[in-house]
Point group: C2
Chain length 478, copies 2
């Protein structure tokens, strides 16, 4: 849904939600009465009603008999947000050889036991995905597939899928020619191919700090050097620091998540995204925009990608269905800008093509399965679960713990007291059957030693609550 098609009450609901998130409306506090809100904000009473119903549905407010609406209690003693790492990290970016894989693999290995509480997982619960409906799309599309497609669709990609993806870009306000789209084996392959299209071993690549750990692994694999740019937990990449690095260093590419950054959940504002584009455009440094959480924004207004400002193909925009629909189908894509042809050729030399049946199934699902309806349900579930984890953290974690307030996705980033060693925490928690993602795996320089990323992508239950309590007990021992 774009701004223009957004209903007035949805917009108003988003404004109230933002006030709740940033603490202006505290838990337990009464939200403005319908009459008051209508008068103050110049909207009709029915708009306010509709907005409050929506917010109730999203789990942010609740009605009390004869007293009106109140912000839900679940975050009664909310933890503070982390300070910006900009103020705490080194002011001048350095370049670093990356060597973090061993650590990452030991964390990933910990997730293999299905009995473990999956706070360390990279995916939401598979039970949140419409897998049965998707299976019907799969059965239908393999039955109807003309035999020659099993060969032809390998080079070009499934034409229906490409059209559906291009359509979703168009609806989101990004115009792009279909031949800019390369379908890939998930976003991970897209990111690998983009990076290889614009770098050679030894080159410098600007990444975020903290960064998605696979970013670090890929850099390590391709023998690239990382220039870590600090990320503000709410506002995203520190542009001043980036400008400084671009000035001083021969950076060959940037790999950033401009919305719902992993692990911080930060989303850059539209103005900031535009400024980022102009900065990169000035230096003619390509941007690899990793936007795999794009569909998981809370509320009603999708964040715009940096790609929407791209006027000369400098941005490679990578997306995927792995976080929003079907992880194991392994279907992602890149809108590759001026690098699309090169990316496509590299793909032919590495994996040739993503699975043809998976492409066809998703194409069918996008057309007939009700993707947007599913996404609305998914976003609501994730937002509710975020509230539950935040409230639980406030109950069980040390009071000086800080935690992010992402406006989407299924990750929270916790900054524990300095004395906490999150690698040790990881081991102790694992011994209790709880996984988590310790801070150092998100850094080329092993920073964030007192931080951890926790996944709230699984339906919240008594087991989750007990796990948080256990983590709290372990944290108290440091």
């Amino acid at each position: 849904m774009t701004l223009s098609t957004m209903k007035r009450y949805e917009k108003f609901a988003d404004e109230i939600a933002e006030s709740i998130r940033n603490g202006v409306l505290a838990p337990g506090e009464r939200v403005p009465s319908v009459r008051h809100a209508s008068r103050t904000y110049g909207v009709s009473p029915s708009t306010v009603f509709q907005a409050y119903y929506l917010l109730e549905d999203r789990g942010l407010i609740q009605a009390r008999a004869r007293s009106g609406y109140f912000v839900r209690e679940h975050a009664k003693h909310p933890l503070h947000e982390p300070e910006s790492p900009v103020e705490r990290g080194p002011r001048q970016a350095q370049t670093t050889e990356v060597d973090v894989s061993e650590l990452v693999f030991s964390v990933l290995g910990s997730l293999k036991n299905p009995a473990t509480v999956p706070f360390g997982s990279a995916f939401p619960s598979p039970y949140l995905f419409p897998l049965a409906r998707l299976a019907r799309s799969m059965a239908q599309s393999v039955r109807d597939m003309p035999p020659q497609a099993v060969i032809a669709d390998m080079t070009a990609g499934n034409p229906d899928l490409r059209r559906q993806i291009a359509l979703r870009y168009m609806v989101a306000g990004v115009r792009l020619p279909m031949d800019e789209l390369v379908i890939t084996n998930g976003a991970m392959e897209a990111l690998n191919l983009c990076l290889q299209s614009v770098t050679r071993p030894g080159d410098l690549v600007a990444i975020e700090a903290p960064a998605f750990y696979a970013t670090l692994q890929v850099l390590e694999r391709l023998k690239l050097k990382a220039v870590e740019i600090p990320v503000h937990p709410r506002e995203g990449i520190d542009l001043e620091s980036l400008a400084d690095s671009l000035q001083r260093l021969p950076i060959k590419a940037c790999w950033f998540m401009s919305s719902l950054q992993n692990p911080l959940g930060a989303s850059m504002s539209e103005d900031k995204k535009r400024a980022l584009y102009e900065l990169l455009h000035g230096h003619q440094v390509p941007l690899i925009e990793d936007d795999v959480y794009a569909e998981l924004y809370y509320g009603t207004q999708p964040p715009k990608p940096v790609k929407s400002f791209d006027r000369d193909g400098l941005v490679m925009h990578c997306g995927s269905f792995s976080k929003s629909l079907a992880p194991g189908y392994r279907v992602g894509w890149v809108a590759g800008g001026r690098y699309a042809e090169q990316i496509s050729r590299l793909k032919l030399m590495t994996t040739i093509s993503p699975s043809v049946p998976a492409q066809a199934a998703i194409a069918d699902y996008l057309q007939h399965g009700g993707y947007d309806r599913h996404l609305r349900k998914l976003r609501h579930a994730l937002e509710m679960q975020q509230g539950a984890m935040l409230a639980s953290a406030a109950r069980h974690f040390p009071a000086s713990t800080r935690v992010t307030r992402p406006t989407g996705g299924y990750f929270l980033w916790f900054e524990f007291p300095e004395r906490v060693d999150s690698l040790q925490l990881f081991q102790l928690a694992l011994a209790q059957g709880i996984s988590l993602a310790p801070g150092p795996i998100f850094s080329a320089t092993r920073r964030f030693g007192n931080c951890a990323r926790l996944n709230h992508g699984h339906p919240w239950d008594a087991g989750s609550e007990r796990a948080m309590e256990t983590l709290g007990l372990i944290l108290a021992t440091f």
Copy 2:
């Protein structure tokens, strides 16, 4: 089927087939009578009968009323086999920076038009695959798949599929622990990962001359240098030349196809494979064994891979279902020997996993779909079509043309008179709606300028015959 389970009549049929193939029994010639054969070869008359029925079924001989069996006429004026390139190429191998991609892409581009006669294609006709049966396996397995599999199967691979593949190895006489198996996005990804596991940019890799063009592209992409080892059109890699190169040069890995080599169709004998293994073992140089045509042998006796002699994990054996069952499903694997763990990690950093539904569908098909029955039909079809193309070439191509006689697969390698420029031939043929794979795309040094690979993987029809005639007319203009 292994030697031990092979029936006596099948073995006898294979011996007769070999005599036909190598010209001892010429087209039109009478094959020994049942009584004679029974006496001479010490087998029962019923064994001879069964063998002759099988050979008739395979299209190699035909019965004439009251006269016995005759070798089929379709290759009445057979073209000669090519000379060994060993005698003609440079004696000392040189190392070469590879730069062939542009040429390959222009050839691949030519295949996009579905109206083109696909002699240049890398795949057999999709109509030879049991796609409808496979679609049923797909529908079934996505319906029955537990939701957690859509995430869990990404790291380990589908457990049923791994077991089925390990079982096929076992039946073929190769014992390997299941954890040596890494499921990949087709063999192409497996080959890429193997190569990256044992080399760094700038390293030397021994490859075949002529080699599968993707080998050259992958070397180019990874900035590796090729050491071209000549391949005998019937007996495969020239071991003397390889031994010489291993002695002189710091070769880090070999990438060879020991059976049904692409493009020559050469298959090394078992003794030669054993000798190859011992040679590499002596130098401790790992072998990447590209064995994607393994299932497409004619007759009844599967070739053994070099992997079957591997006693300490030096061989990475790469296979795939893309040539024998379902190209676009993108499911391959590698039995990675001592490099399996490293390969598996590299995969997690590049594509994470092949498509989970495709893995499940193929696992179900292997268990319930009748893969071996399908393979027998497929082999028969390909062998018949080889006969048809050989006969057609003898009718239409210059008499001094030489052509290989592979014992499996769906490629023939033509060596035209020296004056023929196959790149020009490619252009002229394409203008007539016929594709082919010109020799130079199979060489890092642009050799084989008078050669071409033709695909007979498509059911032979009047259009194929006309296309061969047209090629003959073009060849006559050189």
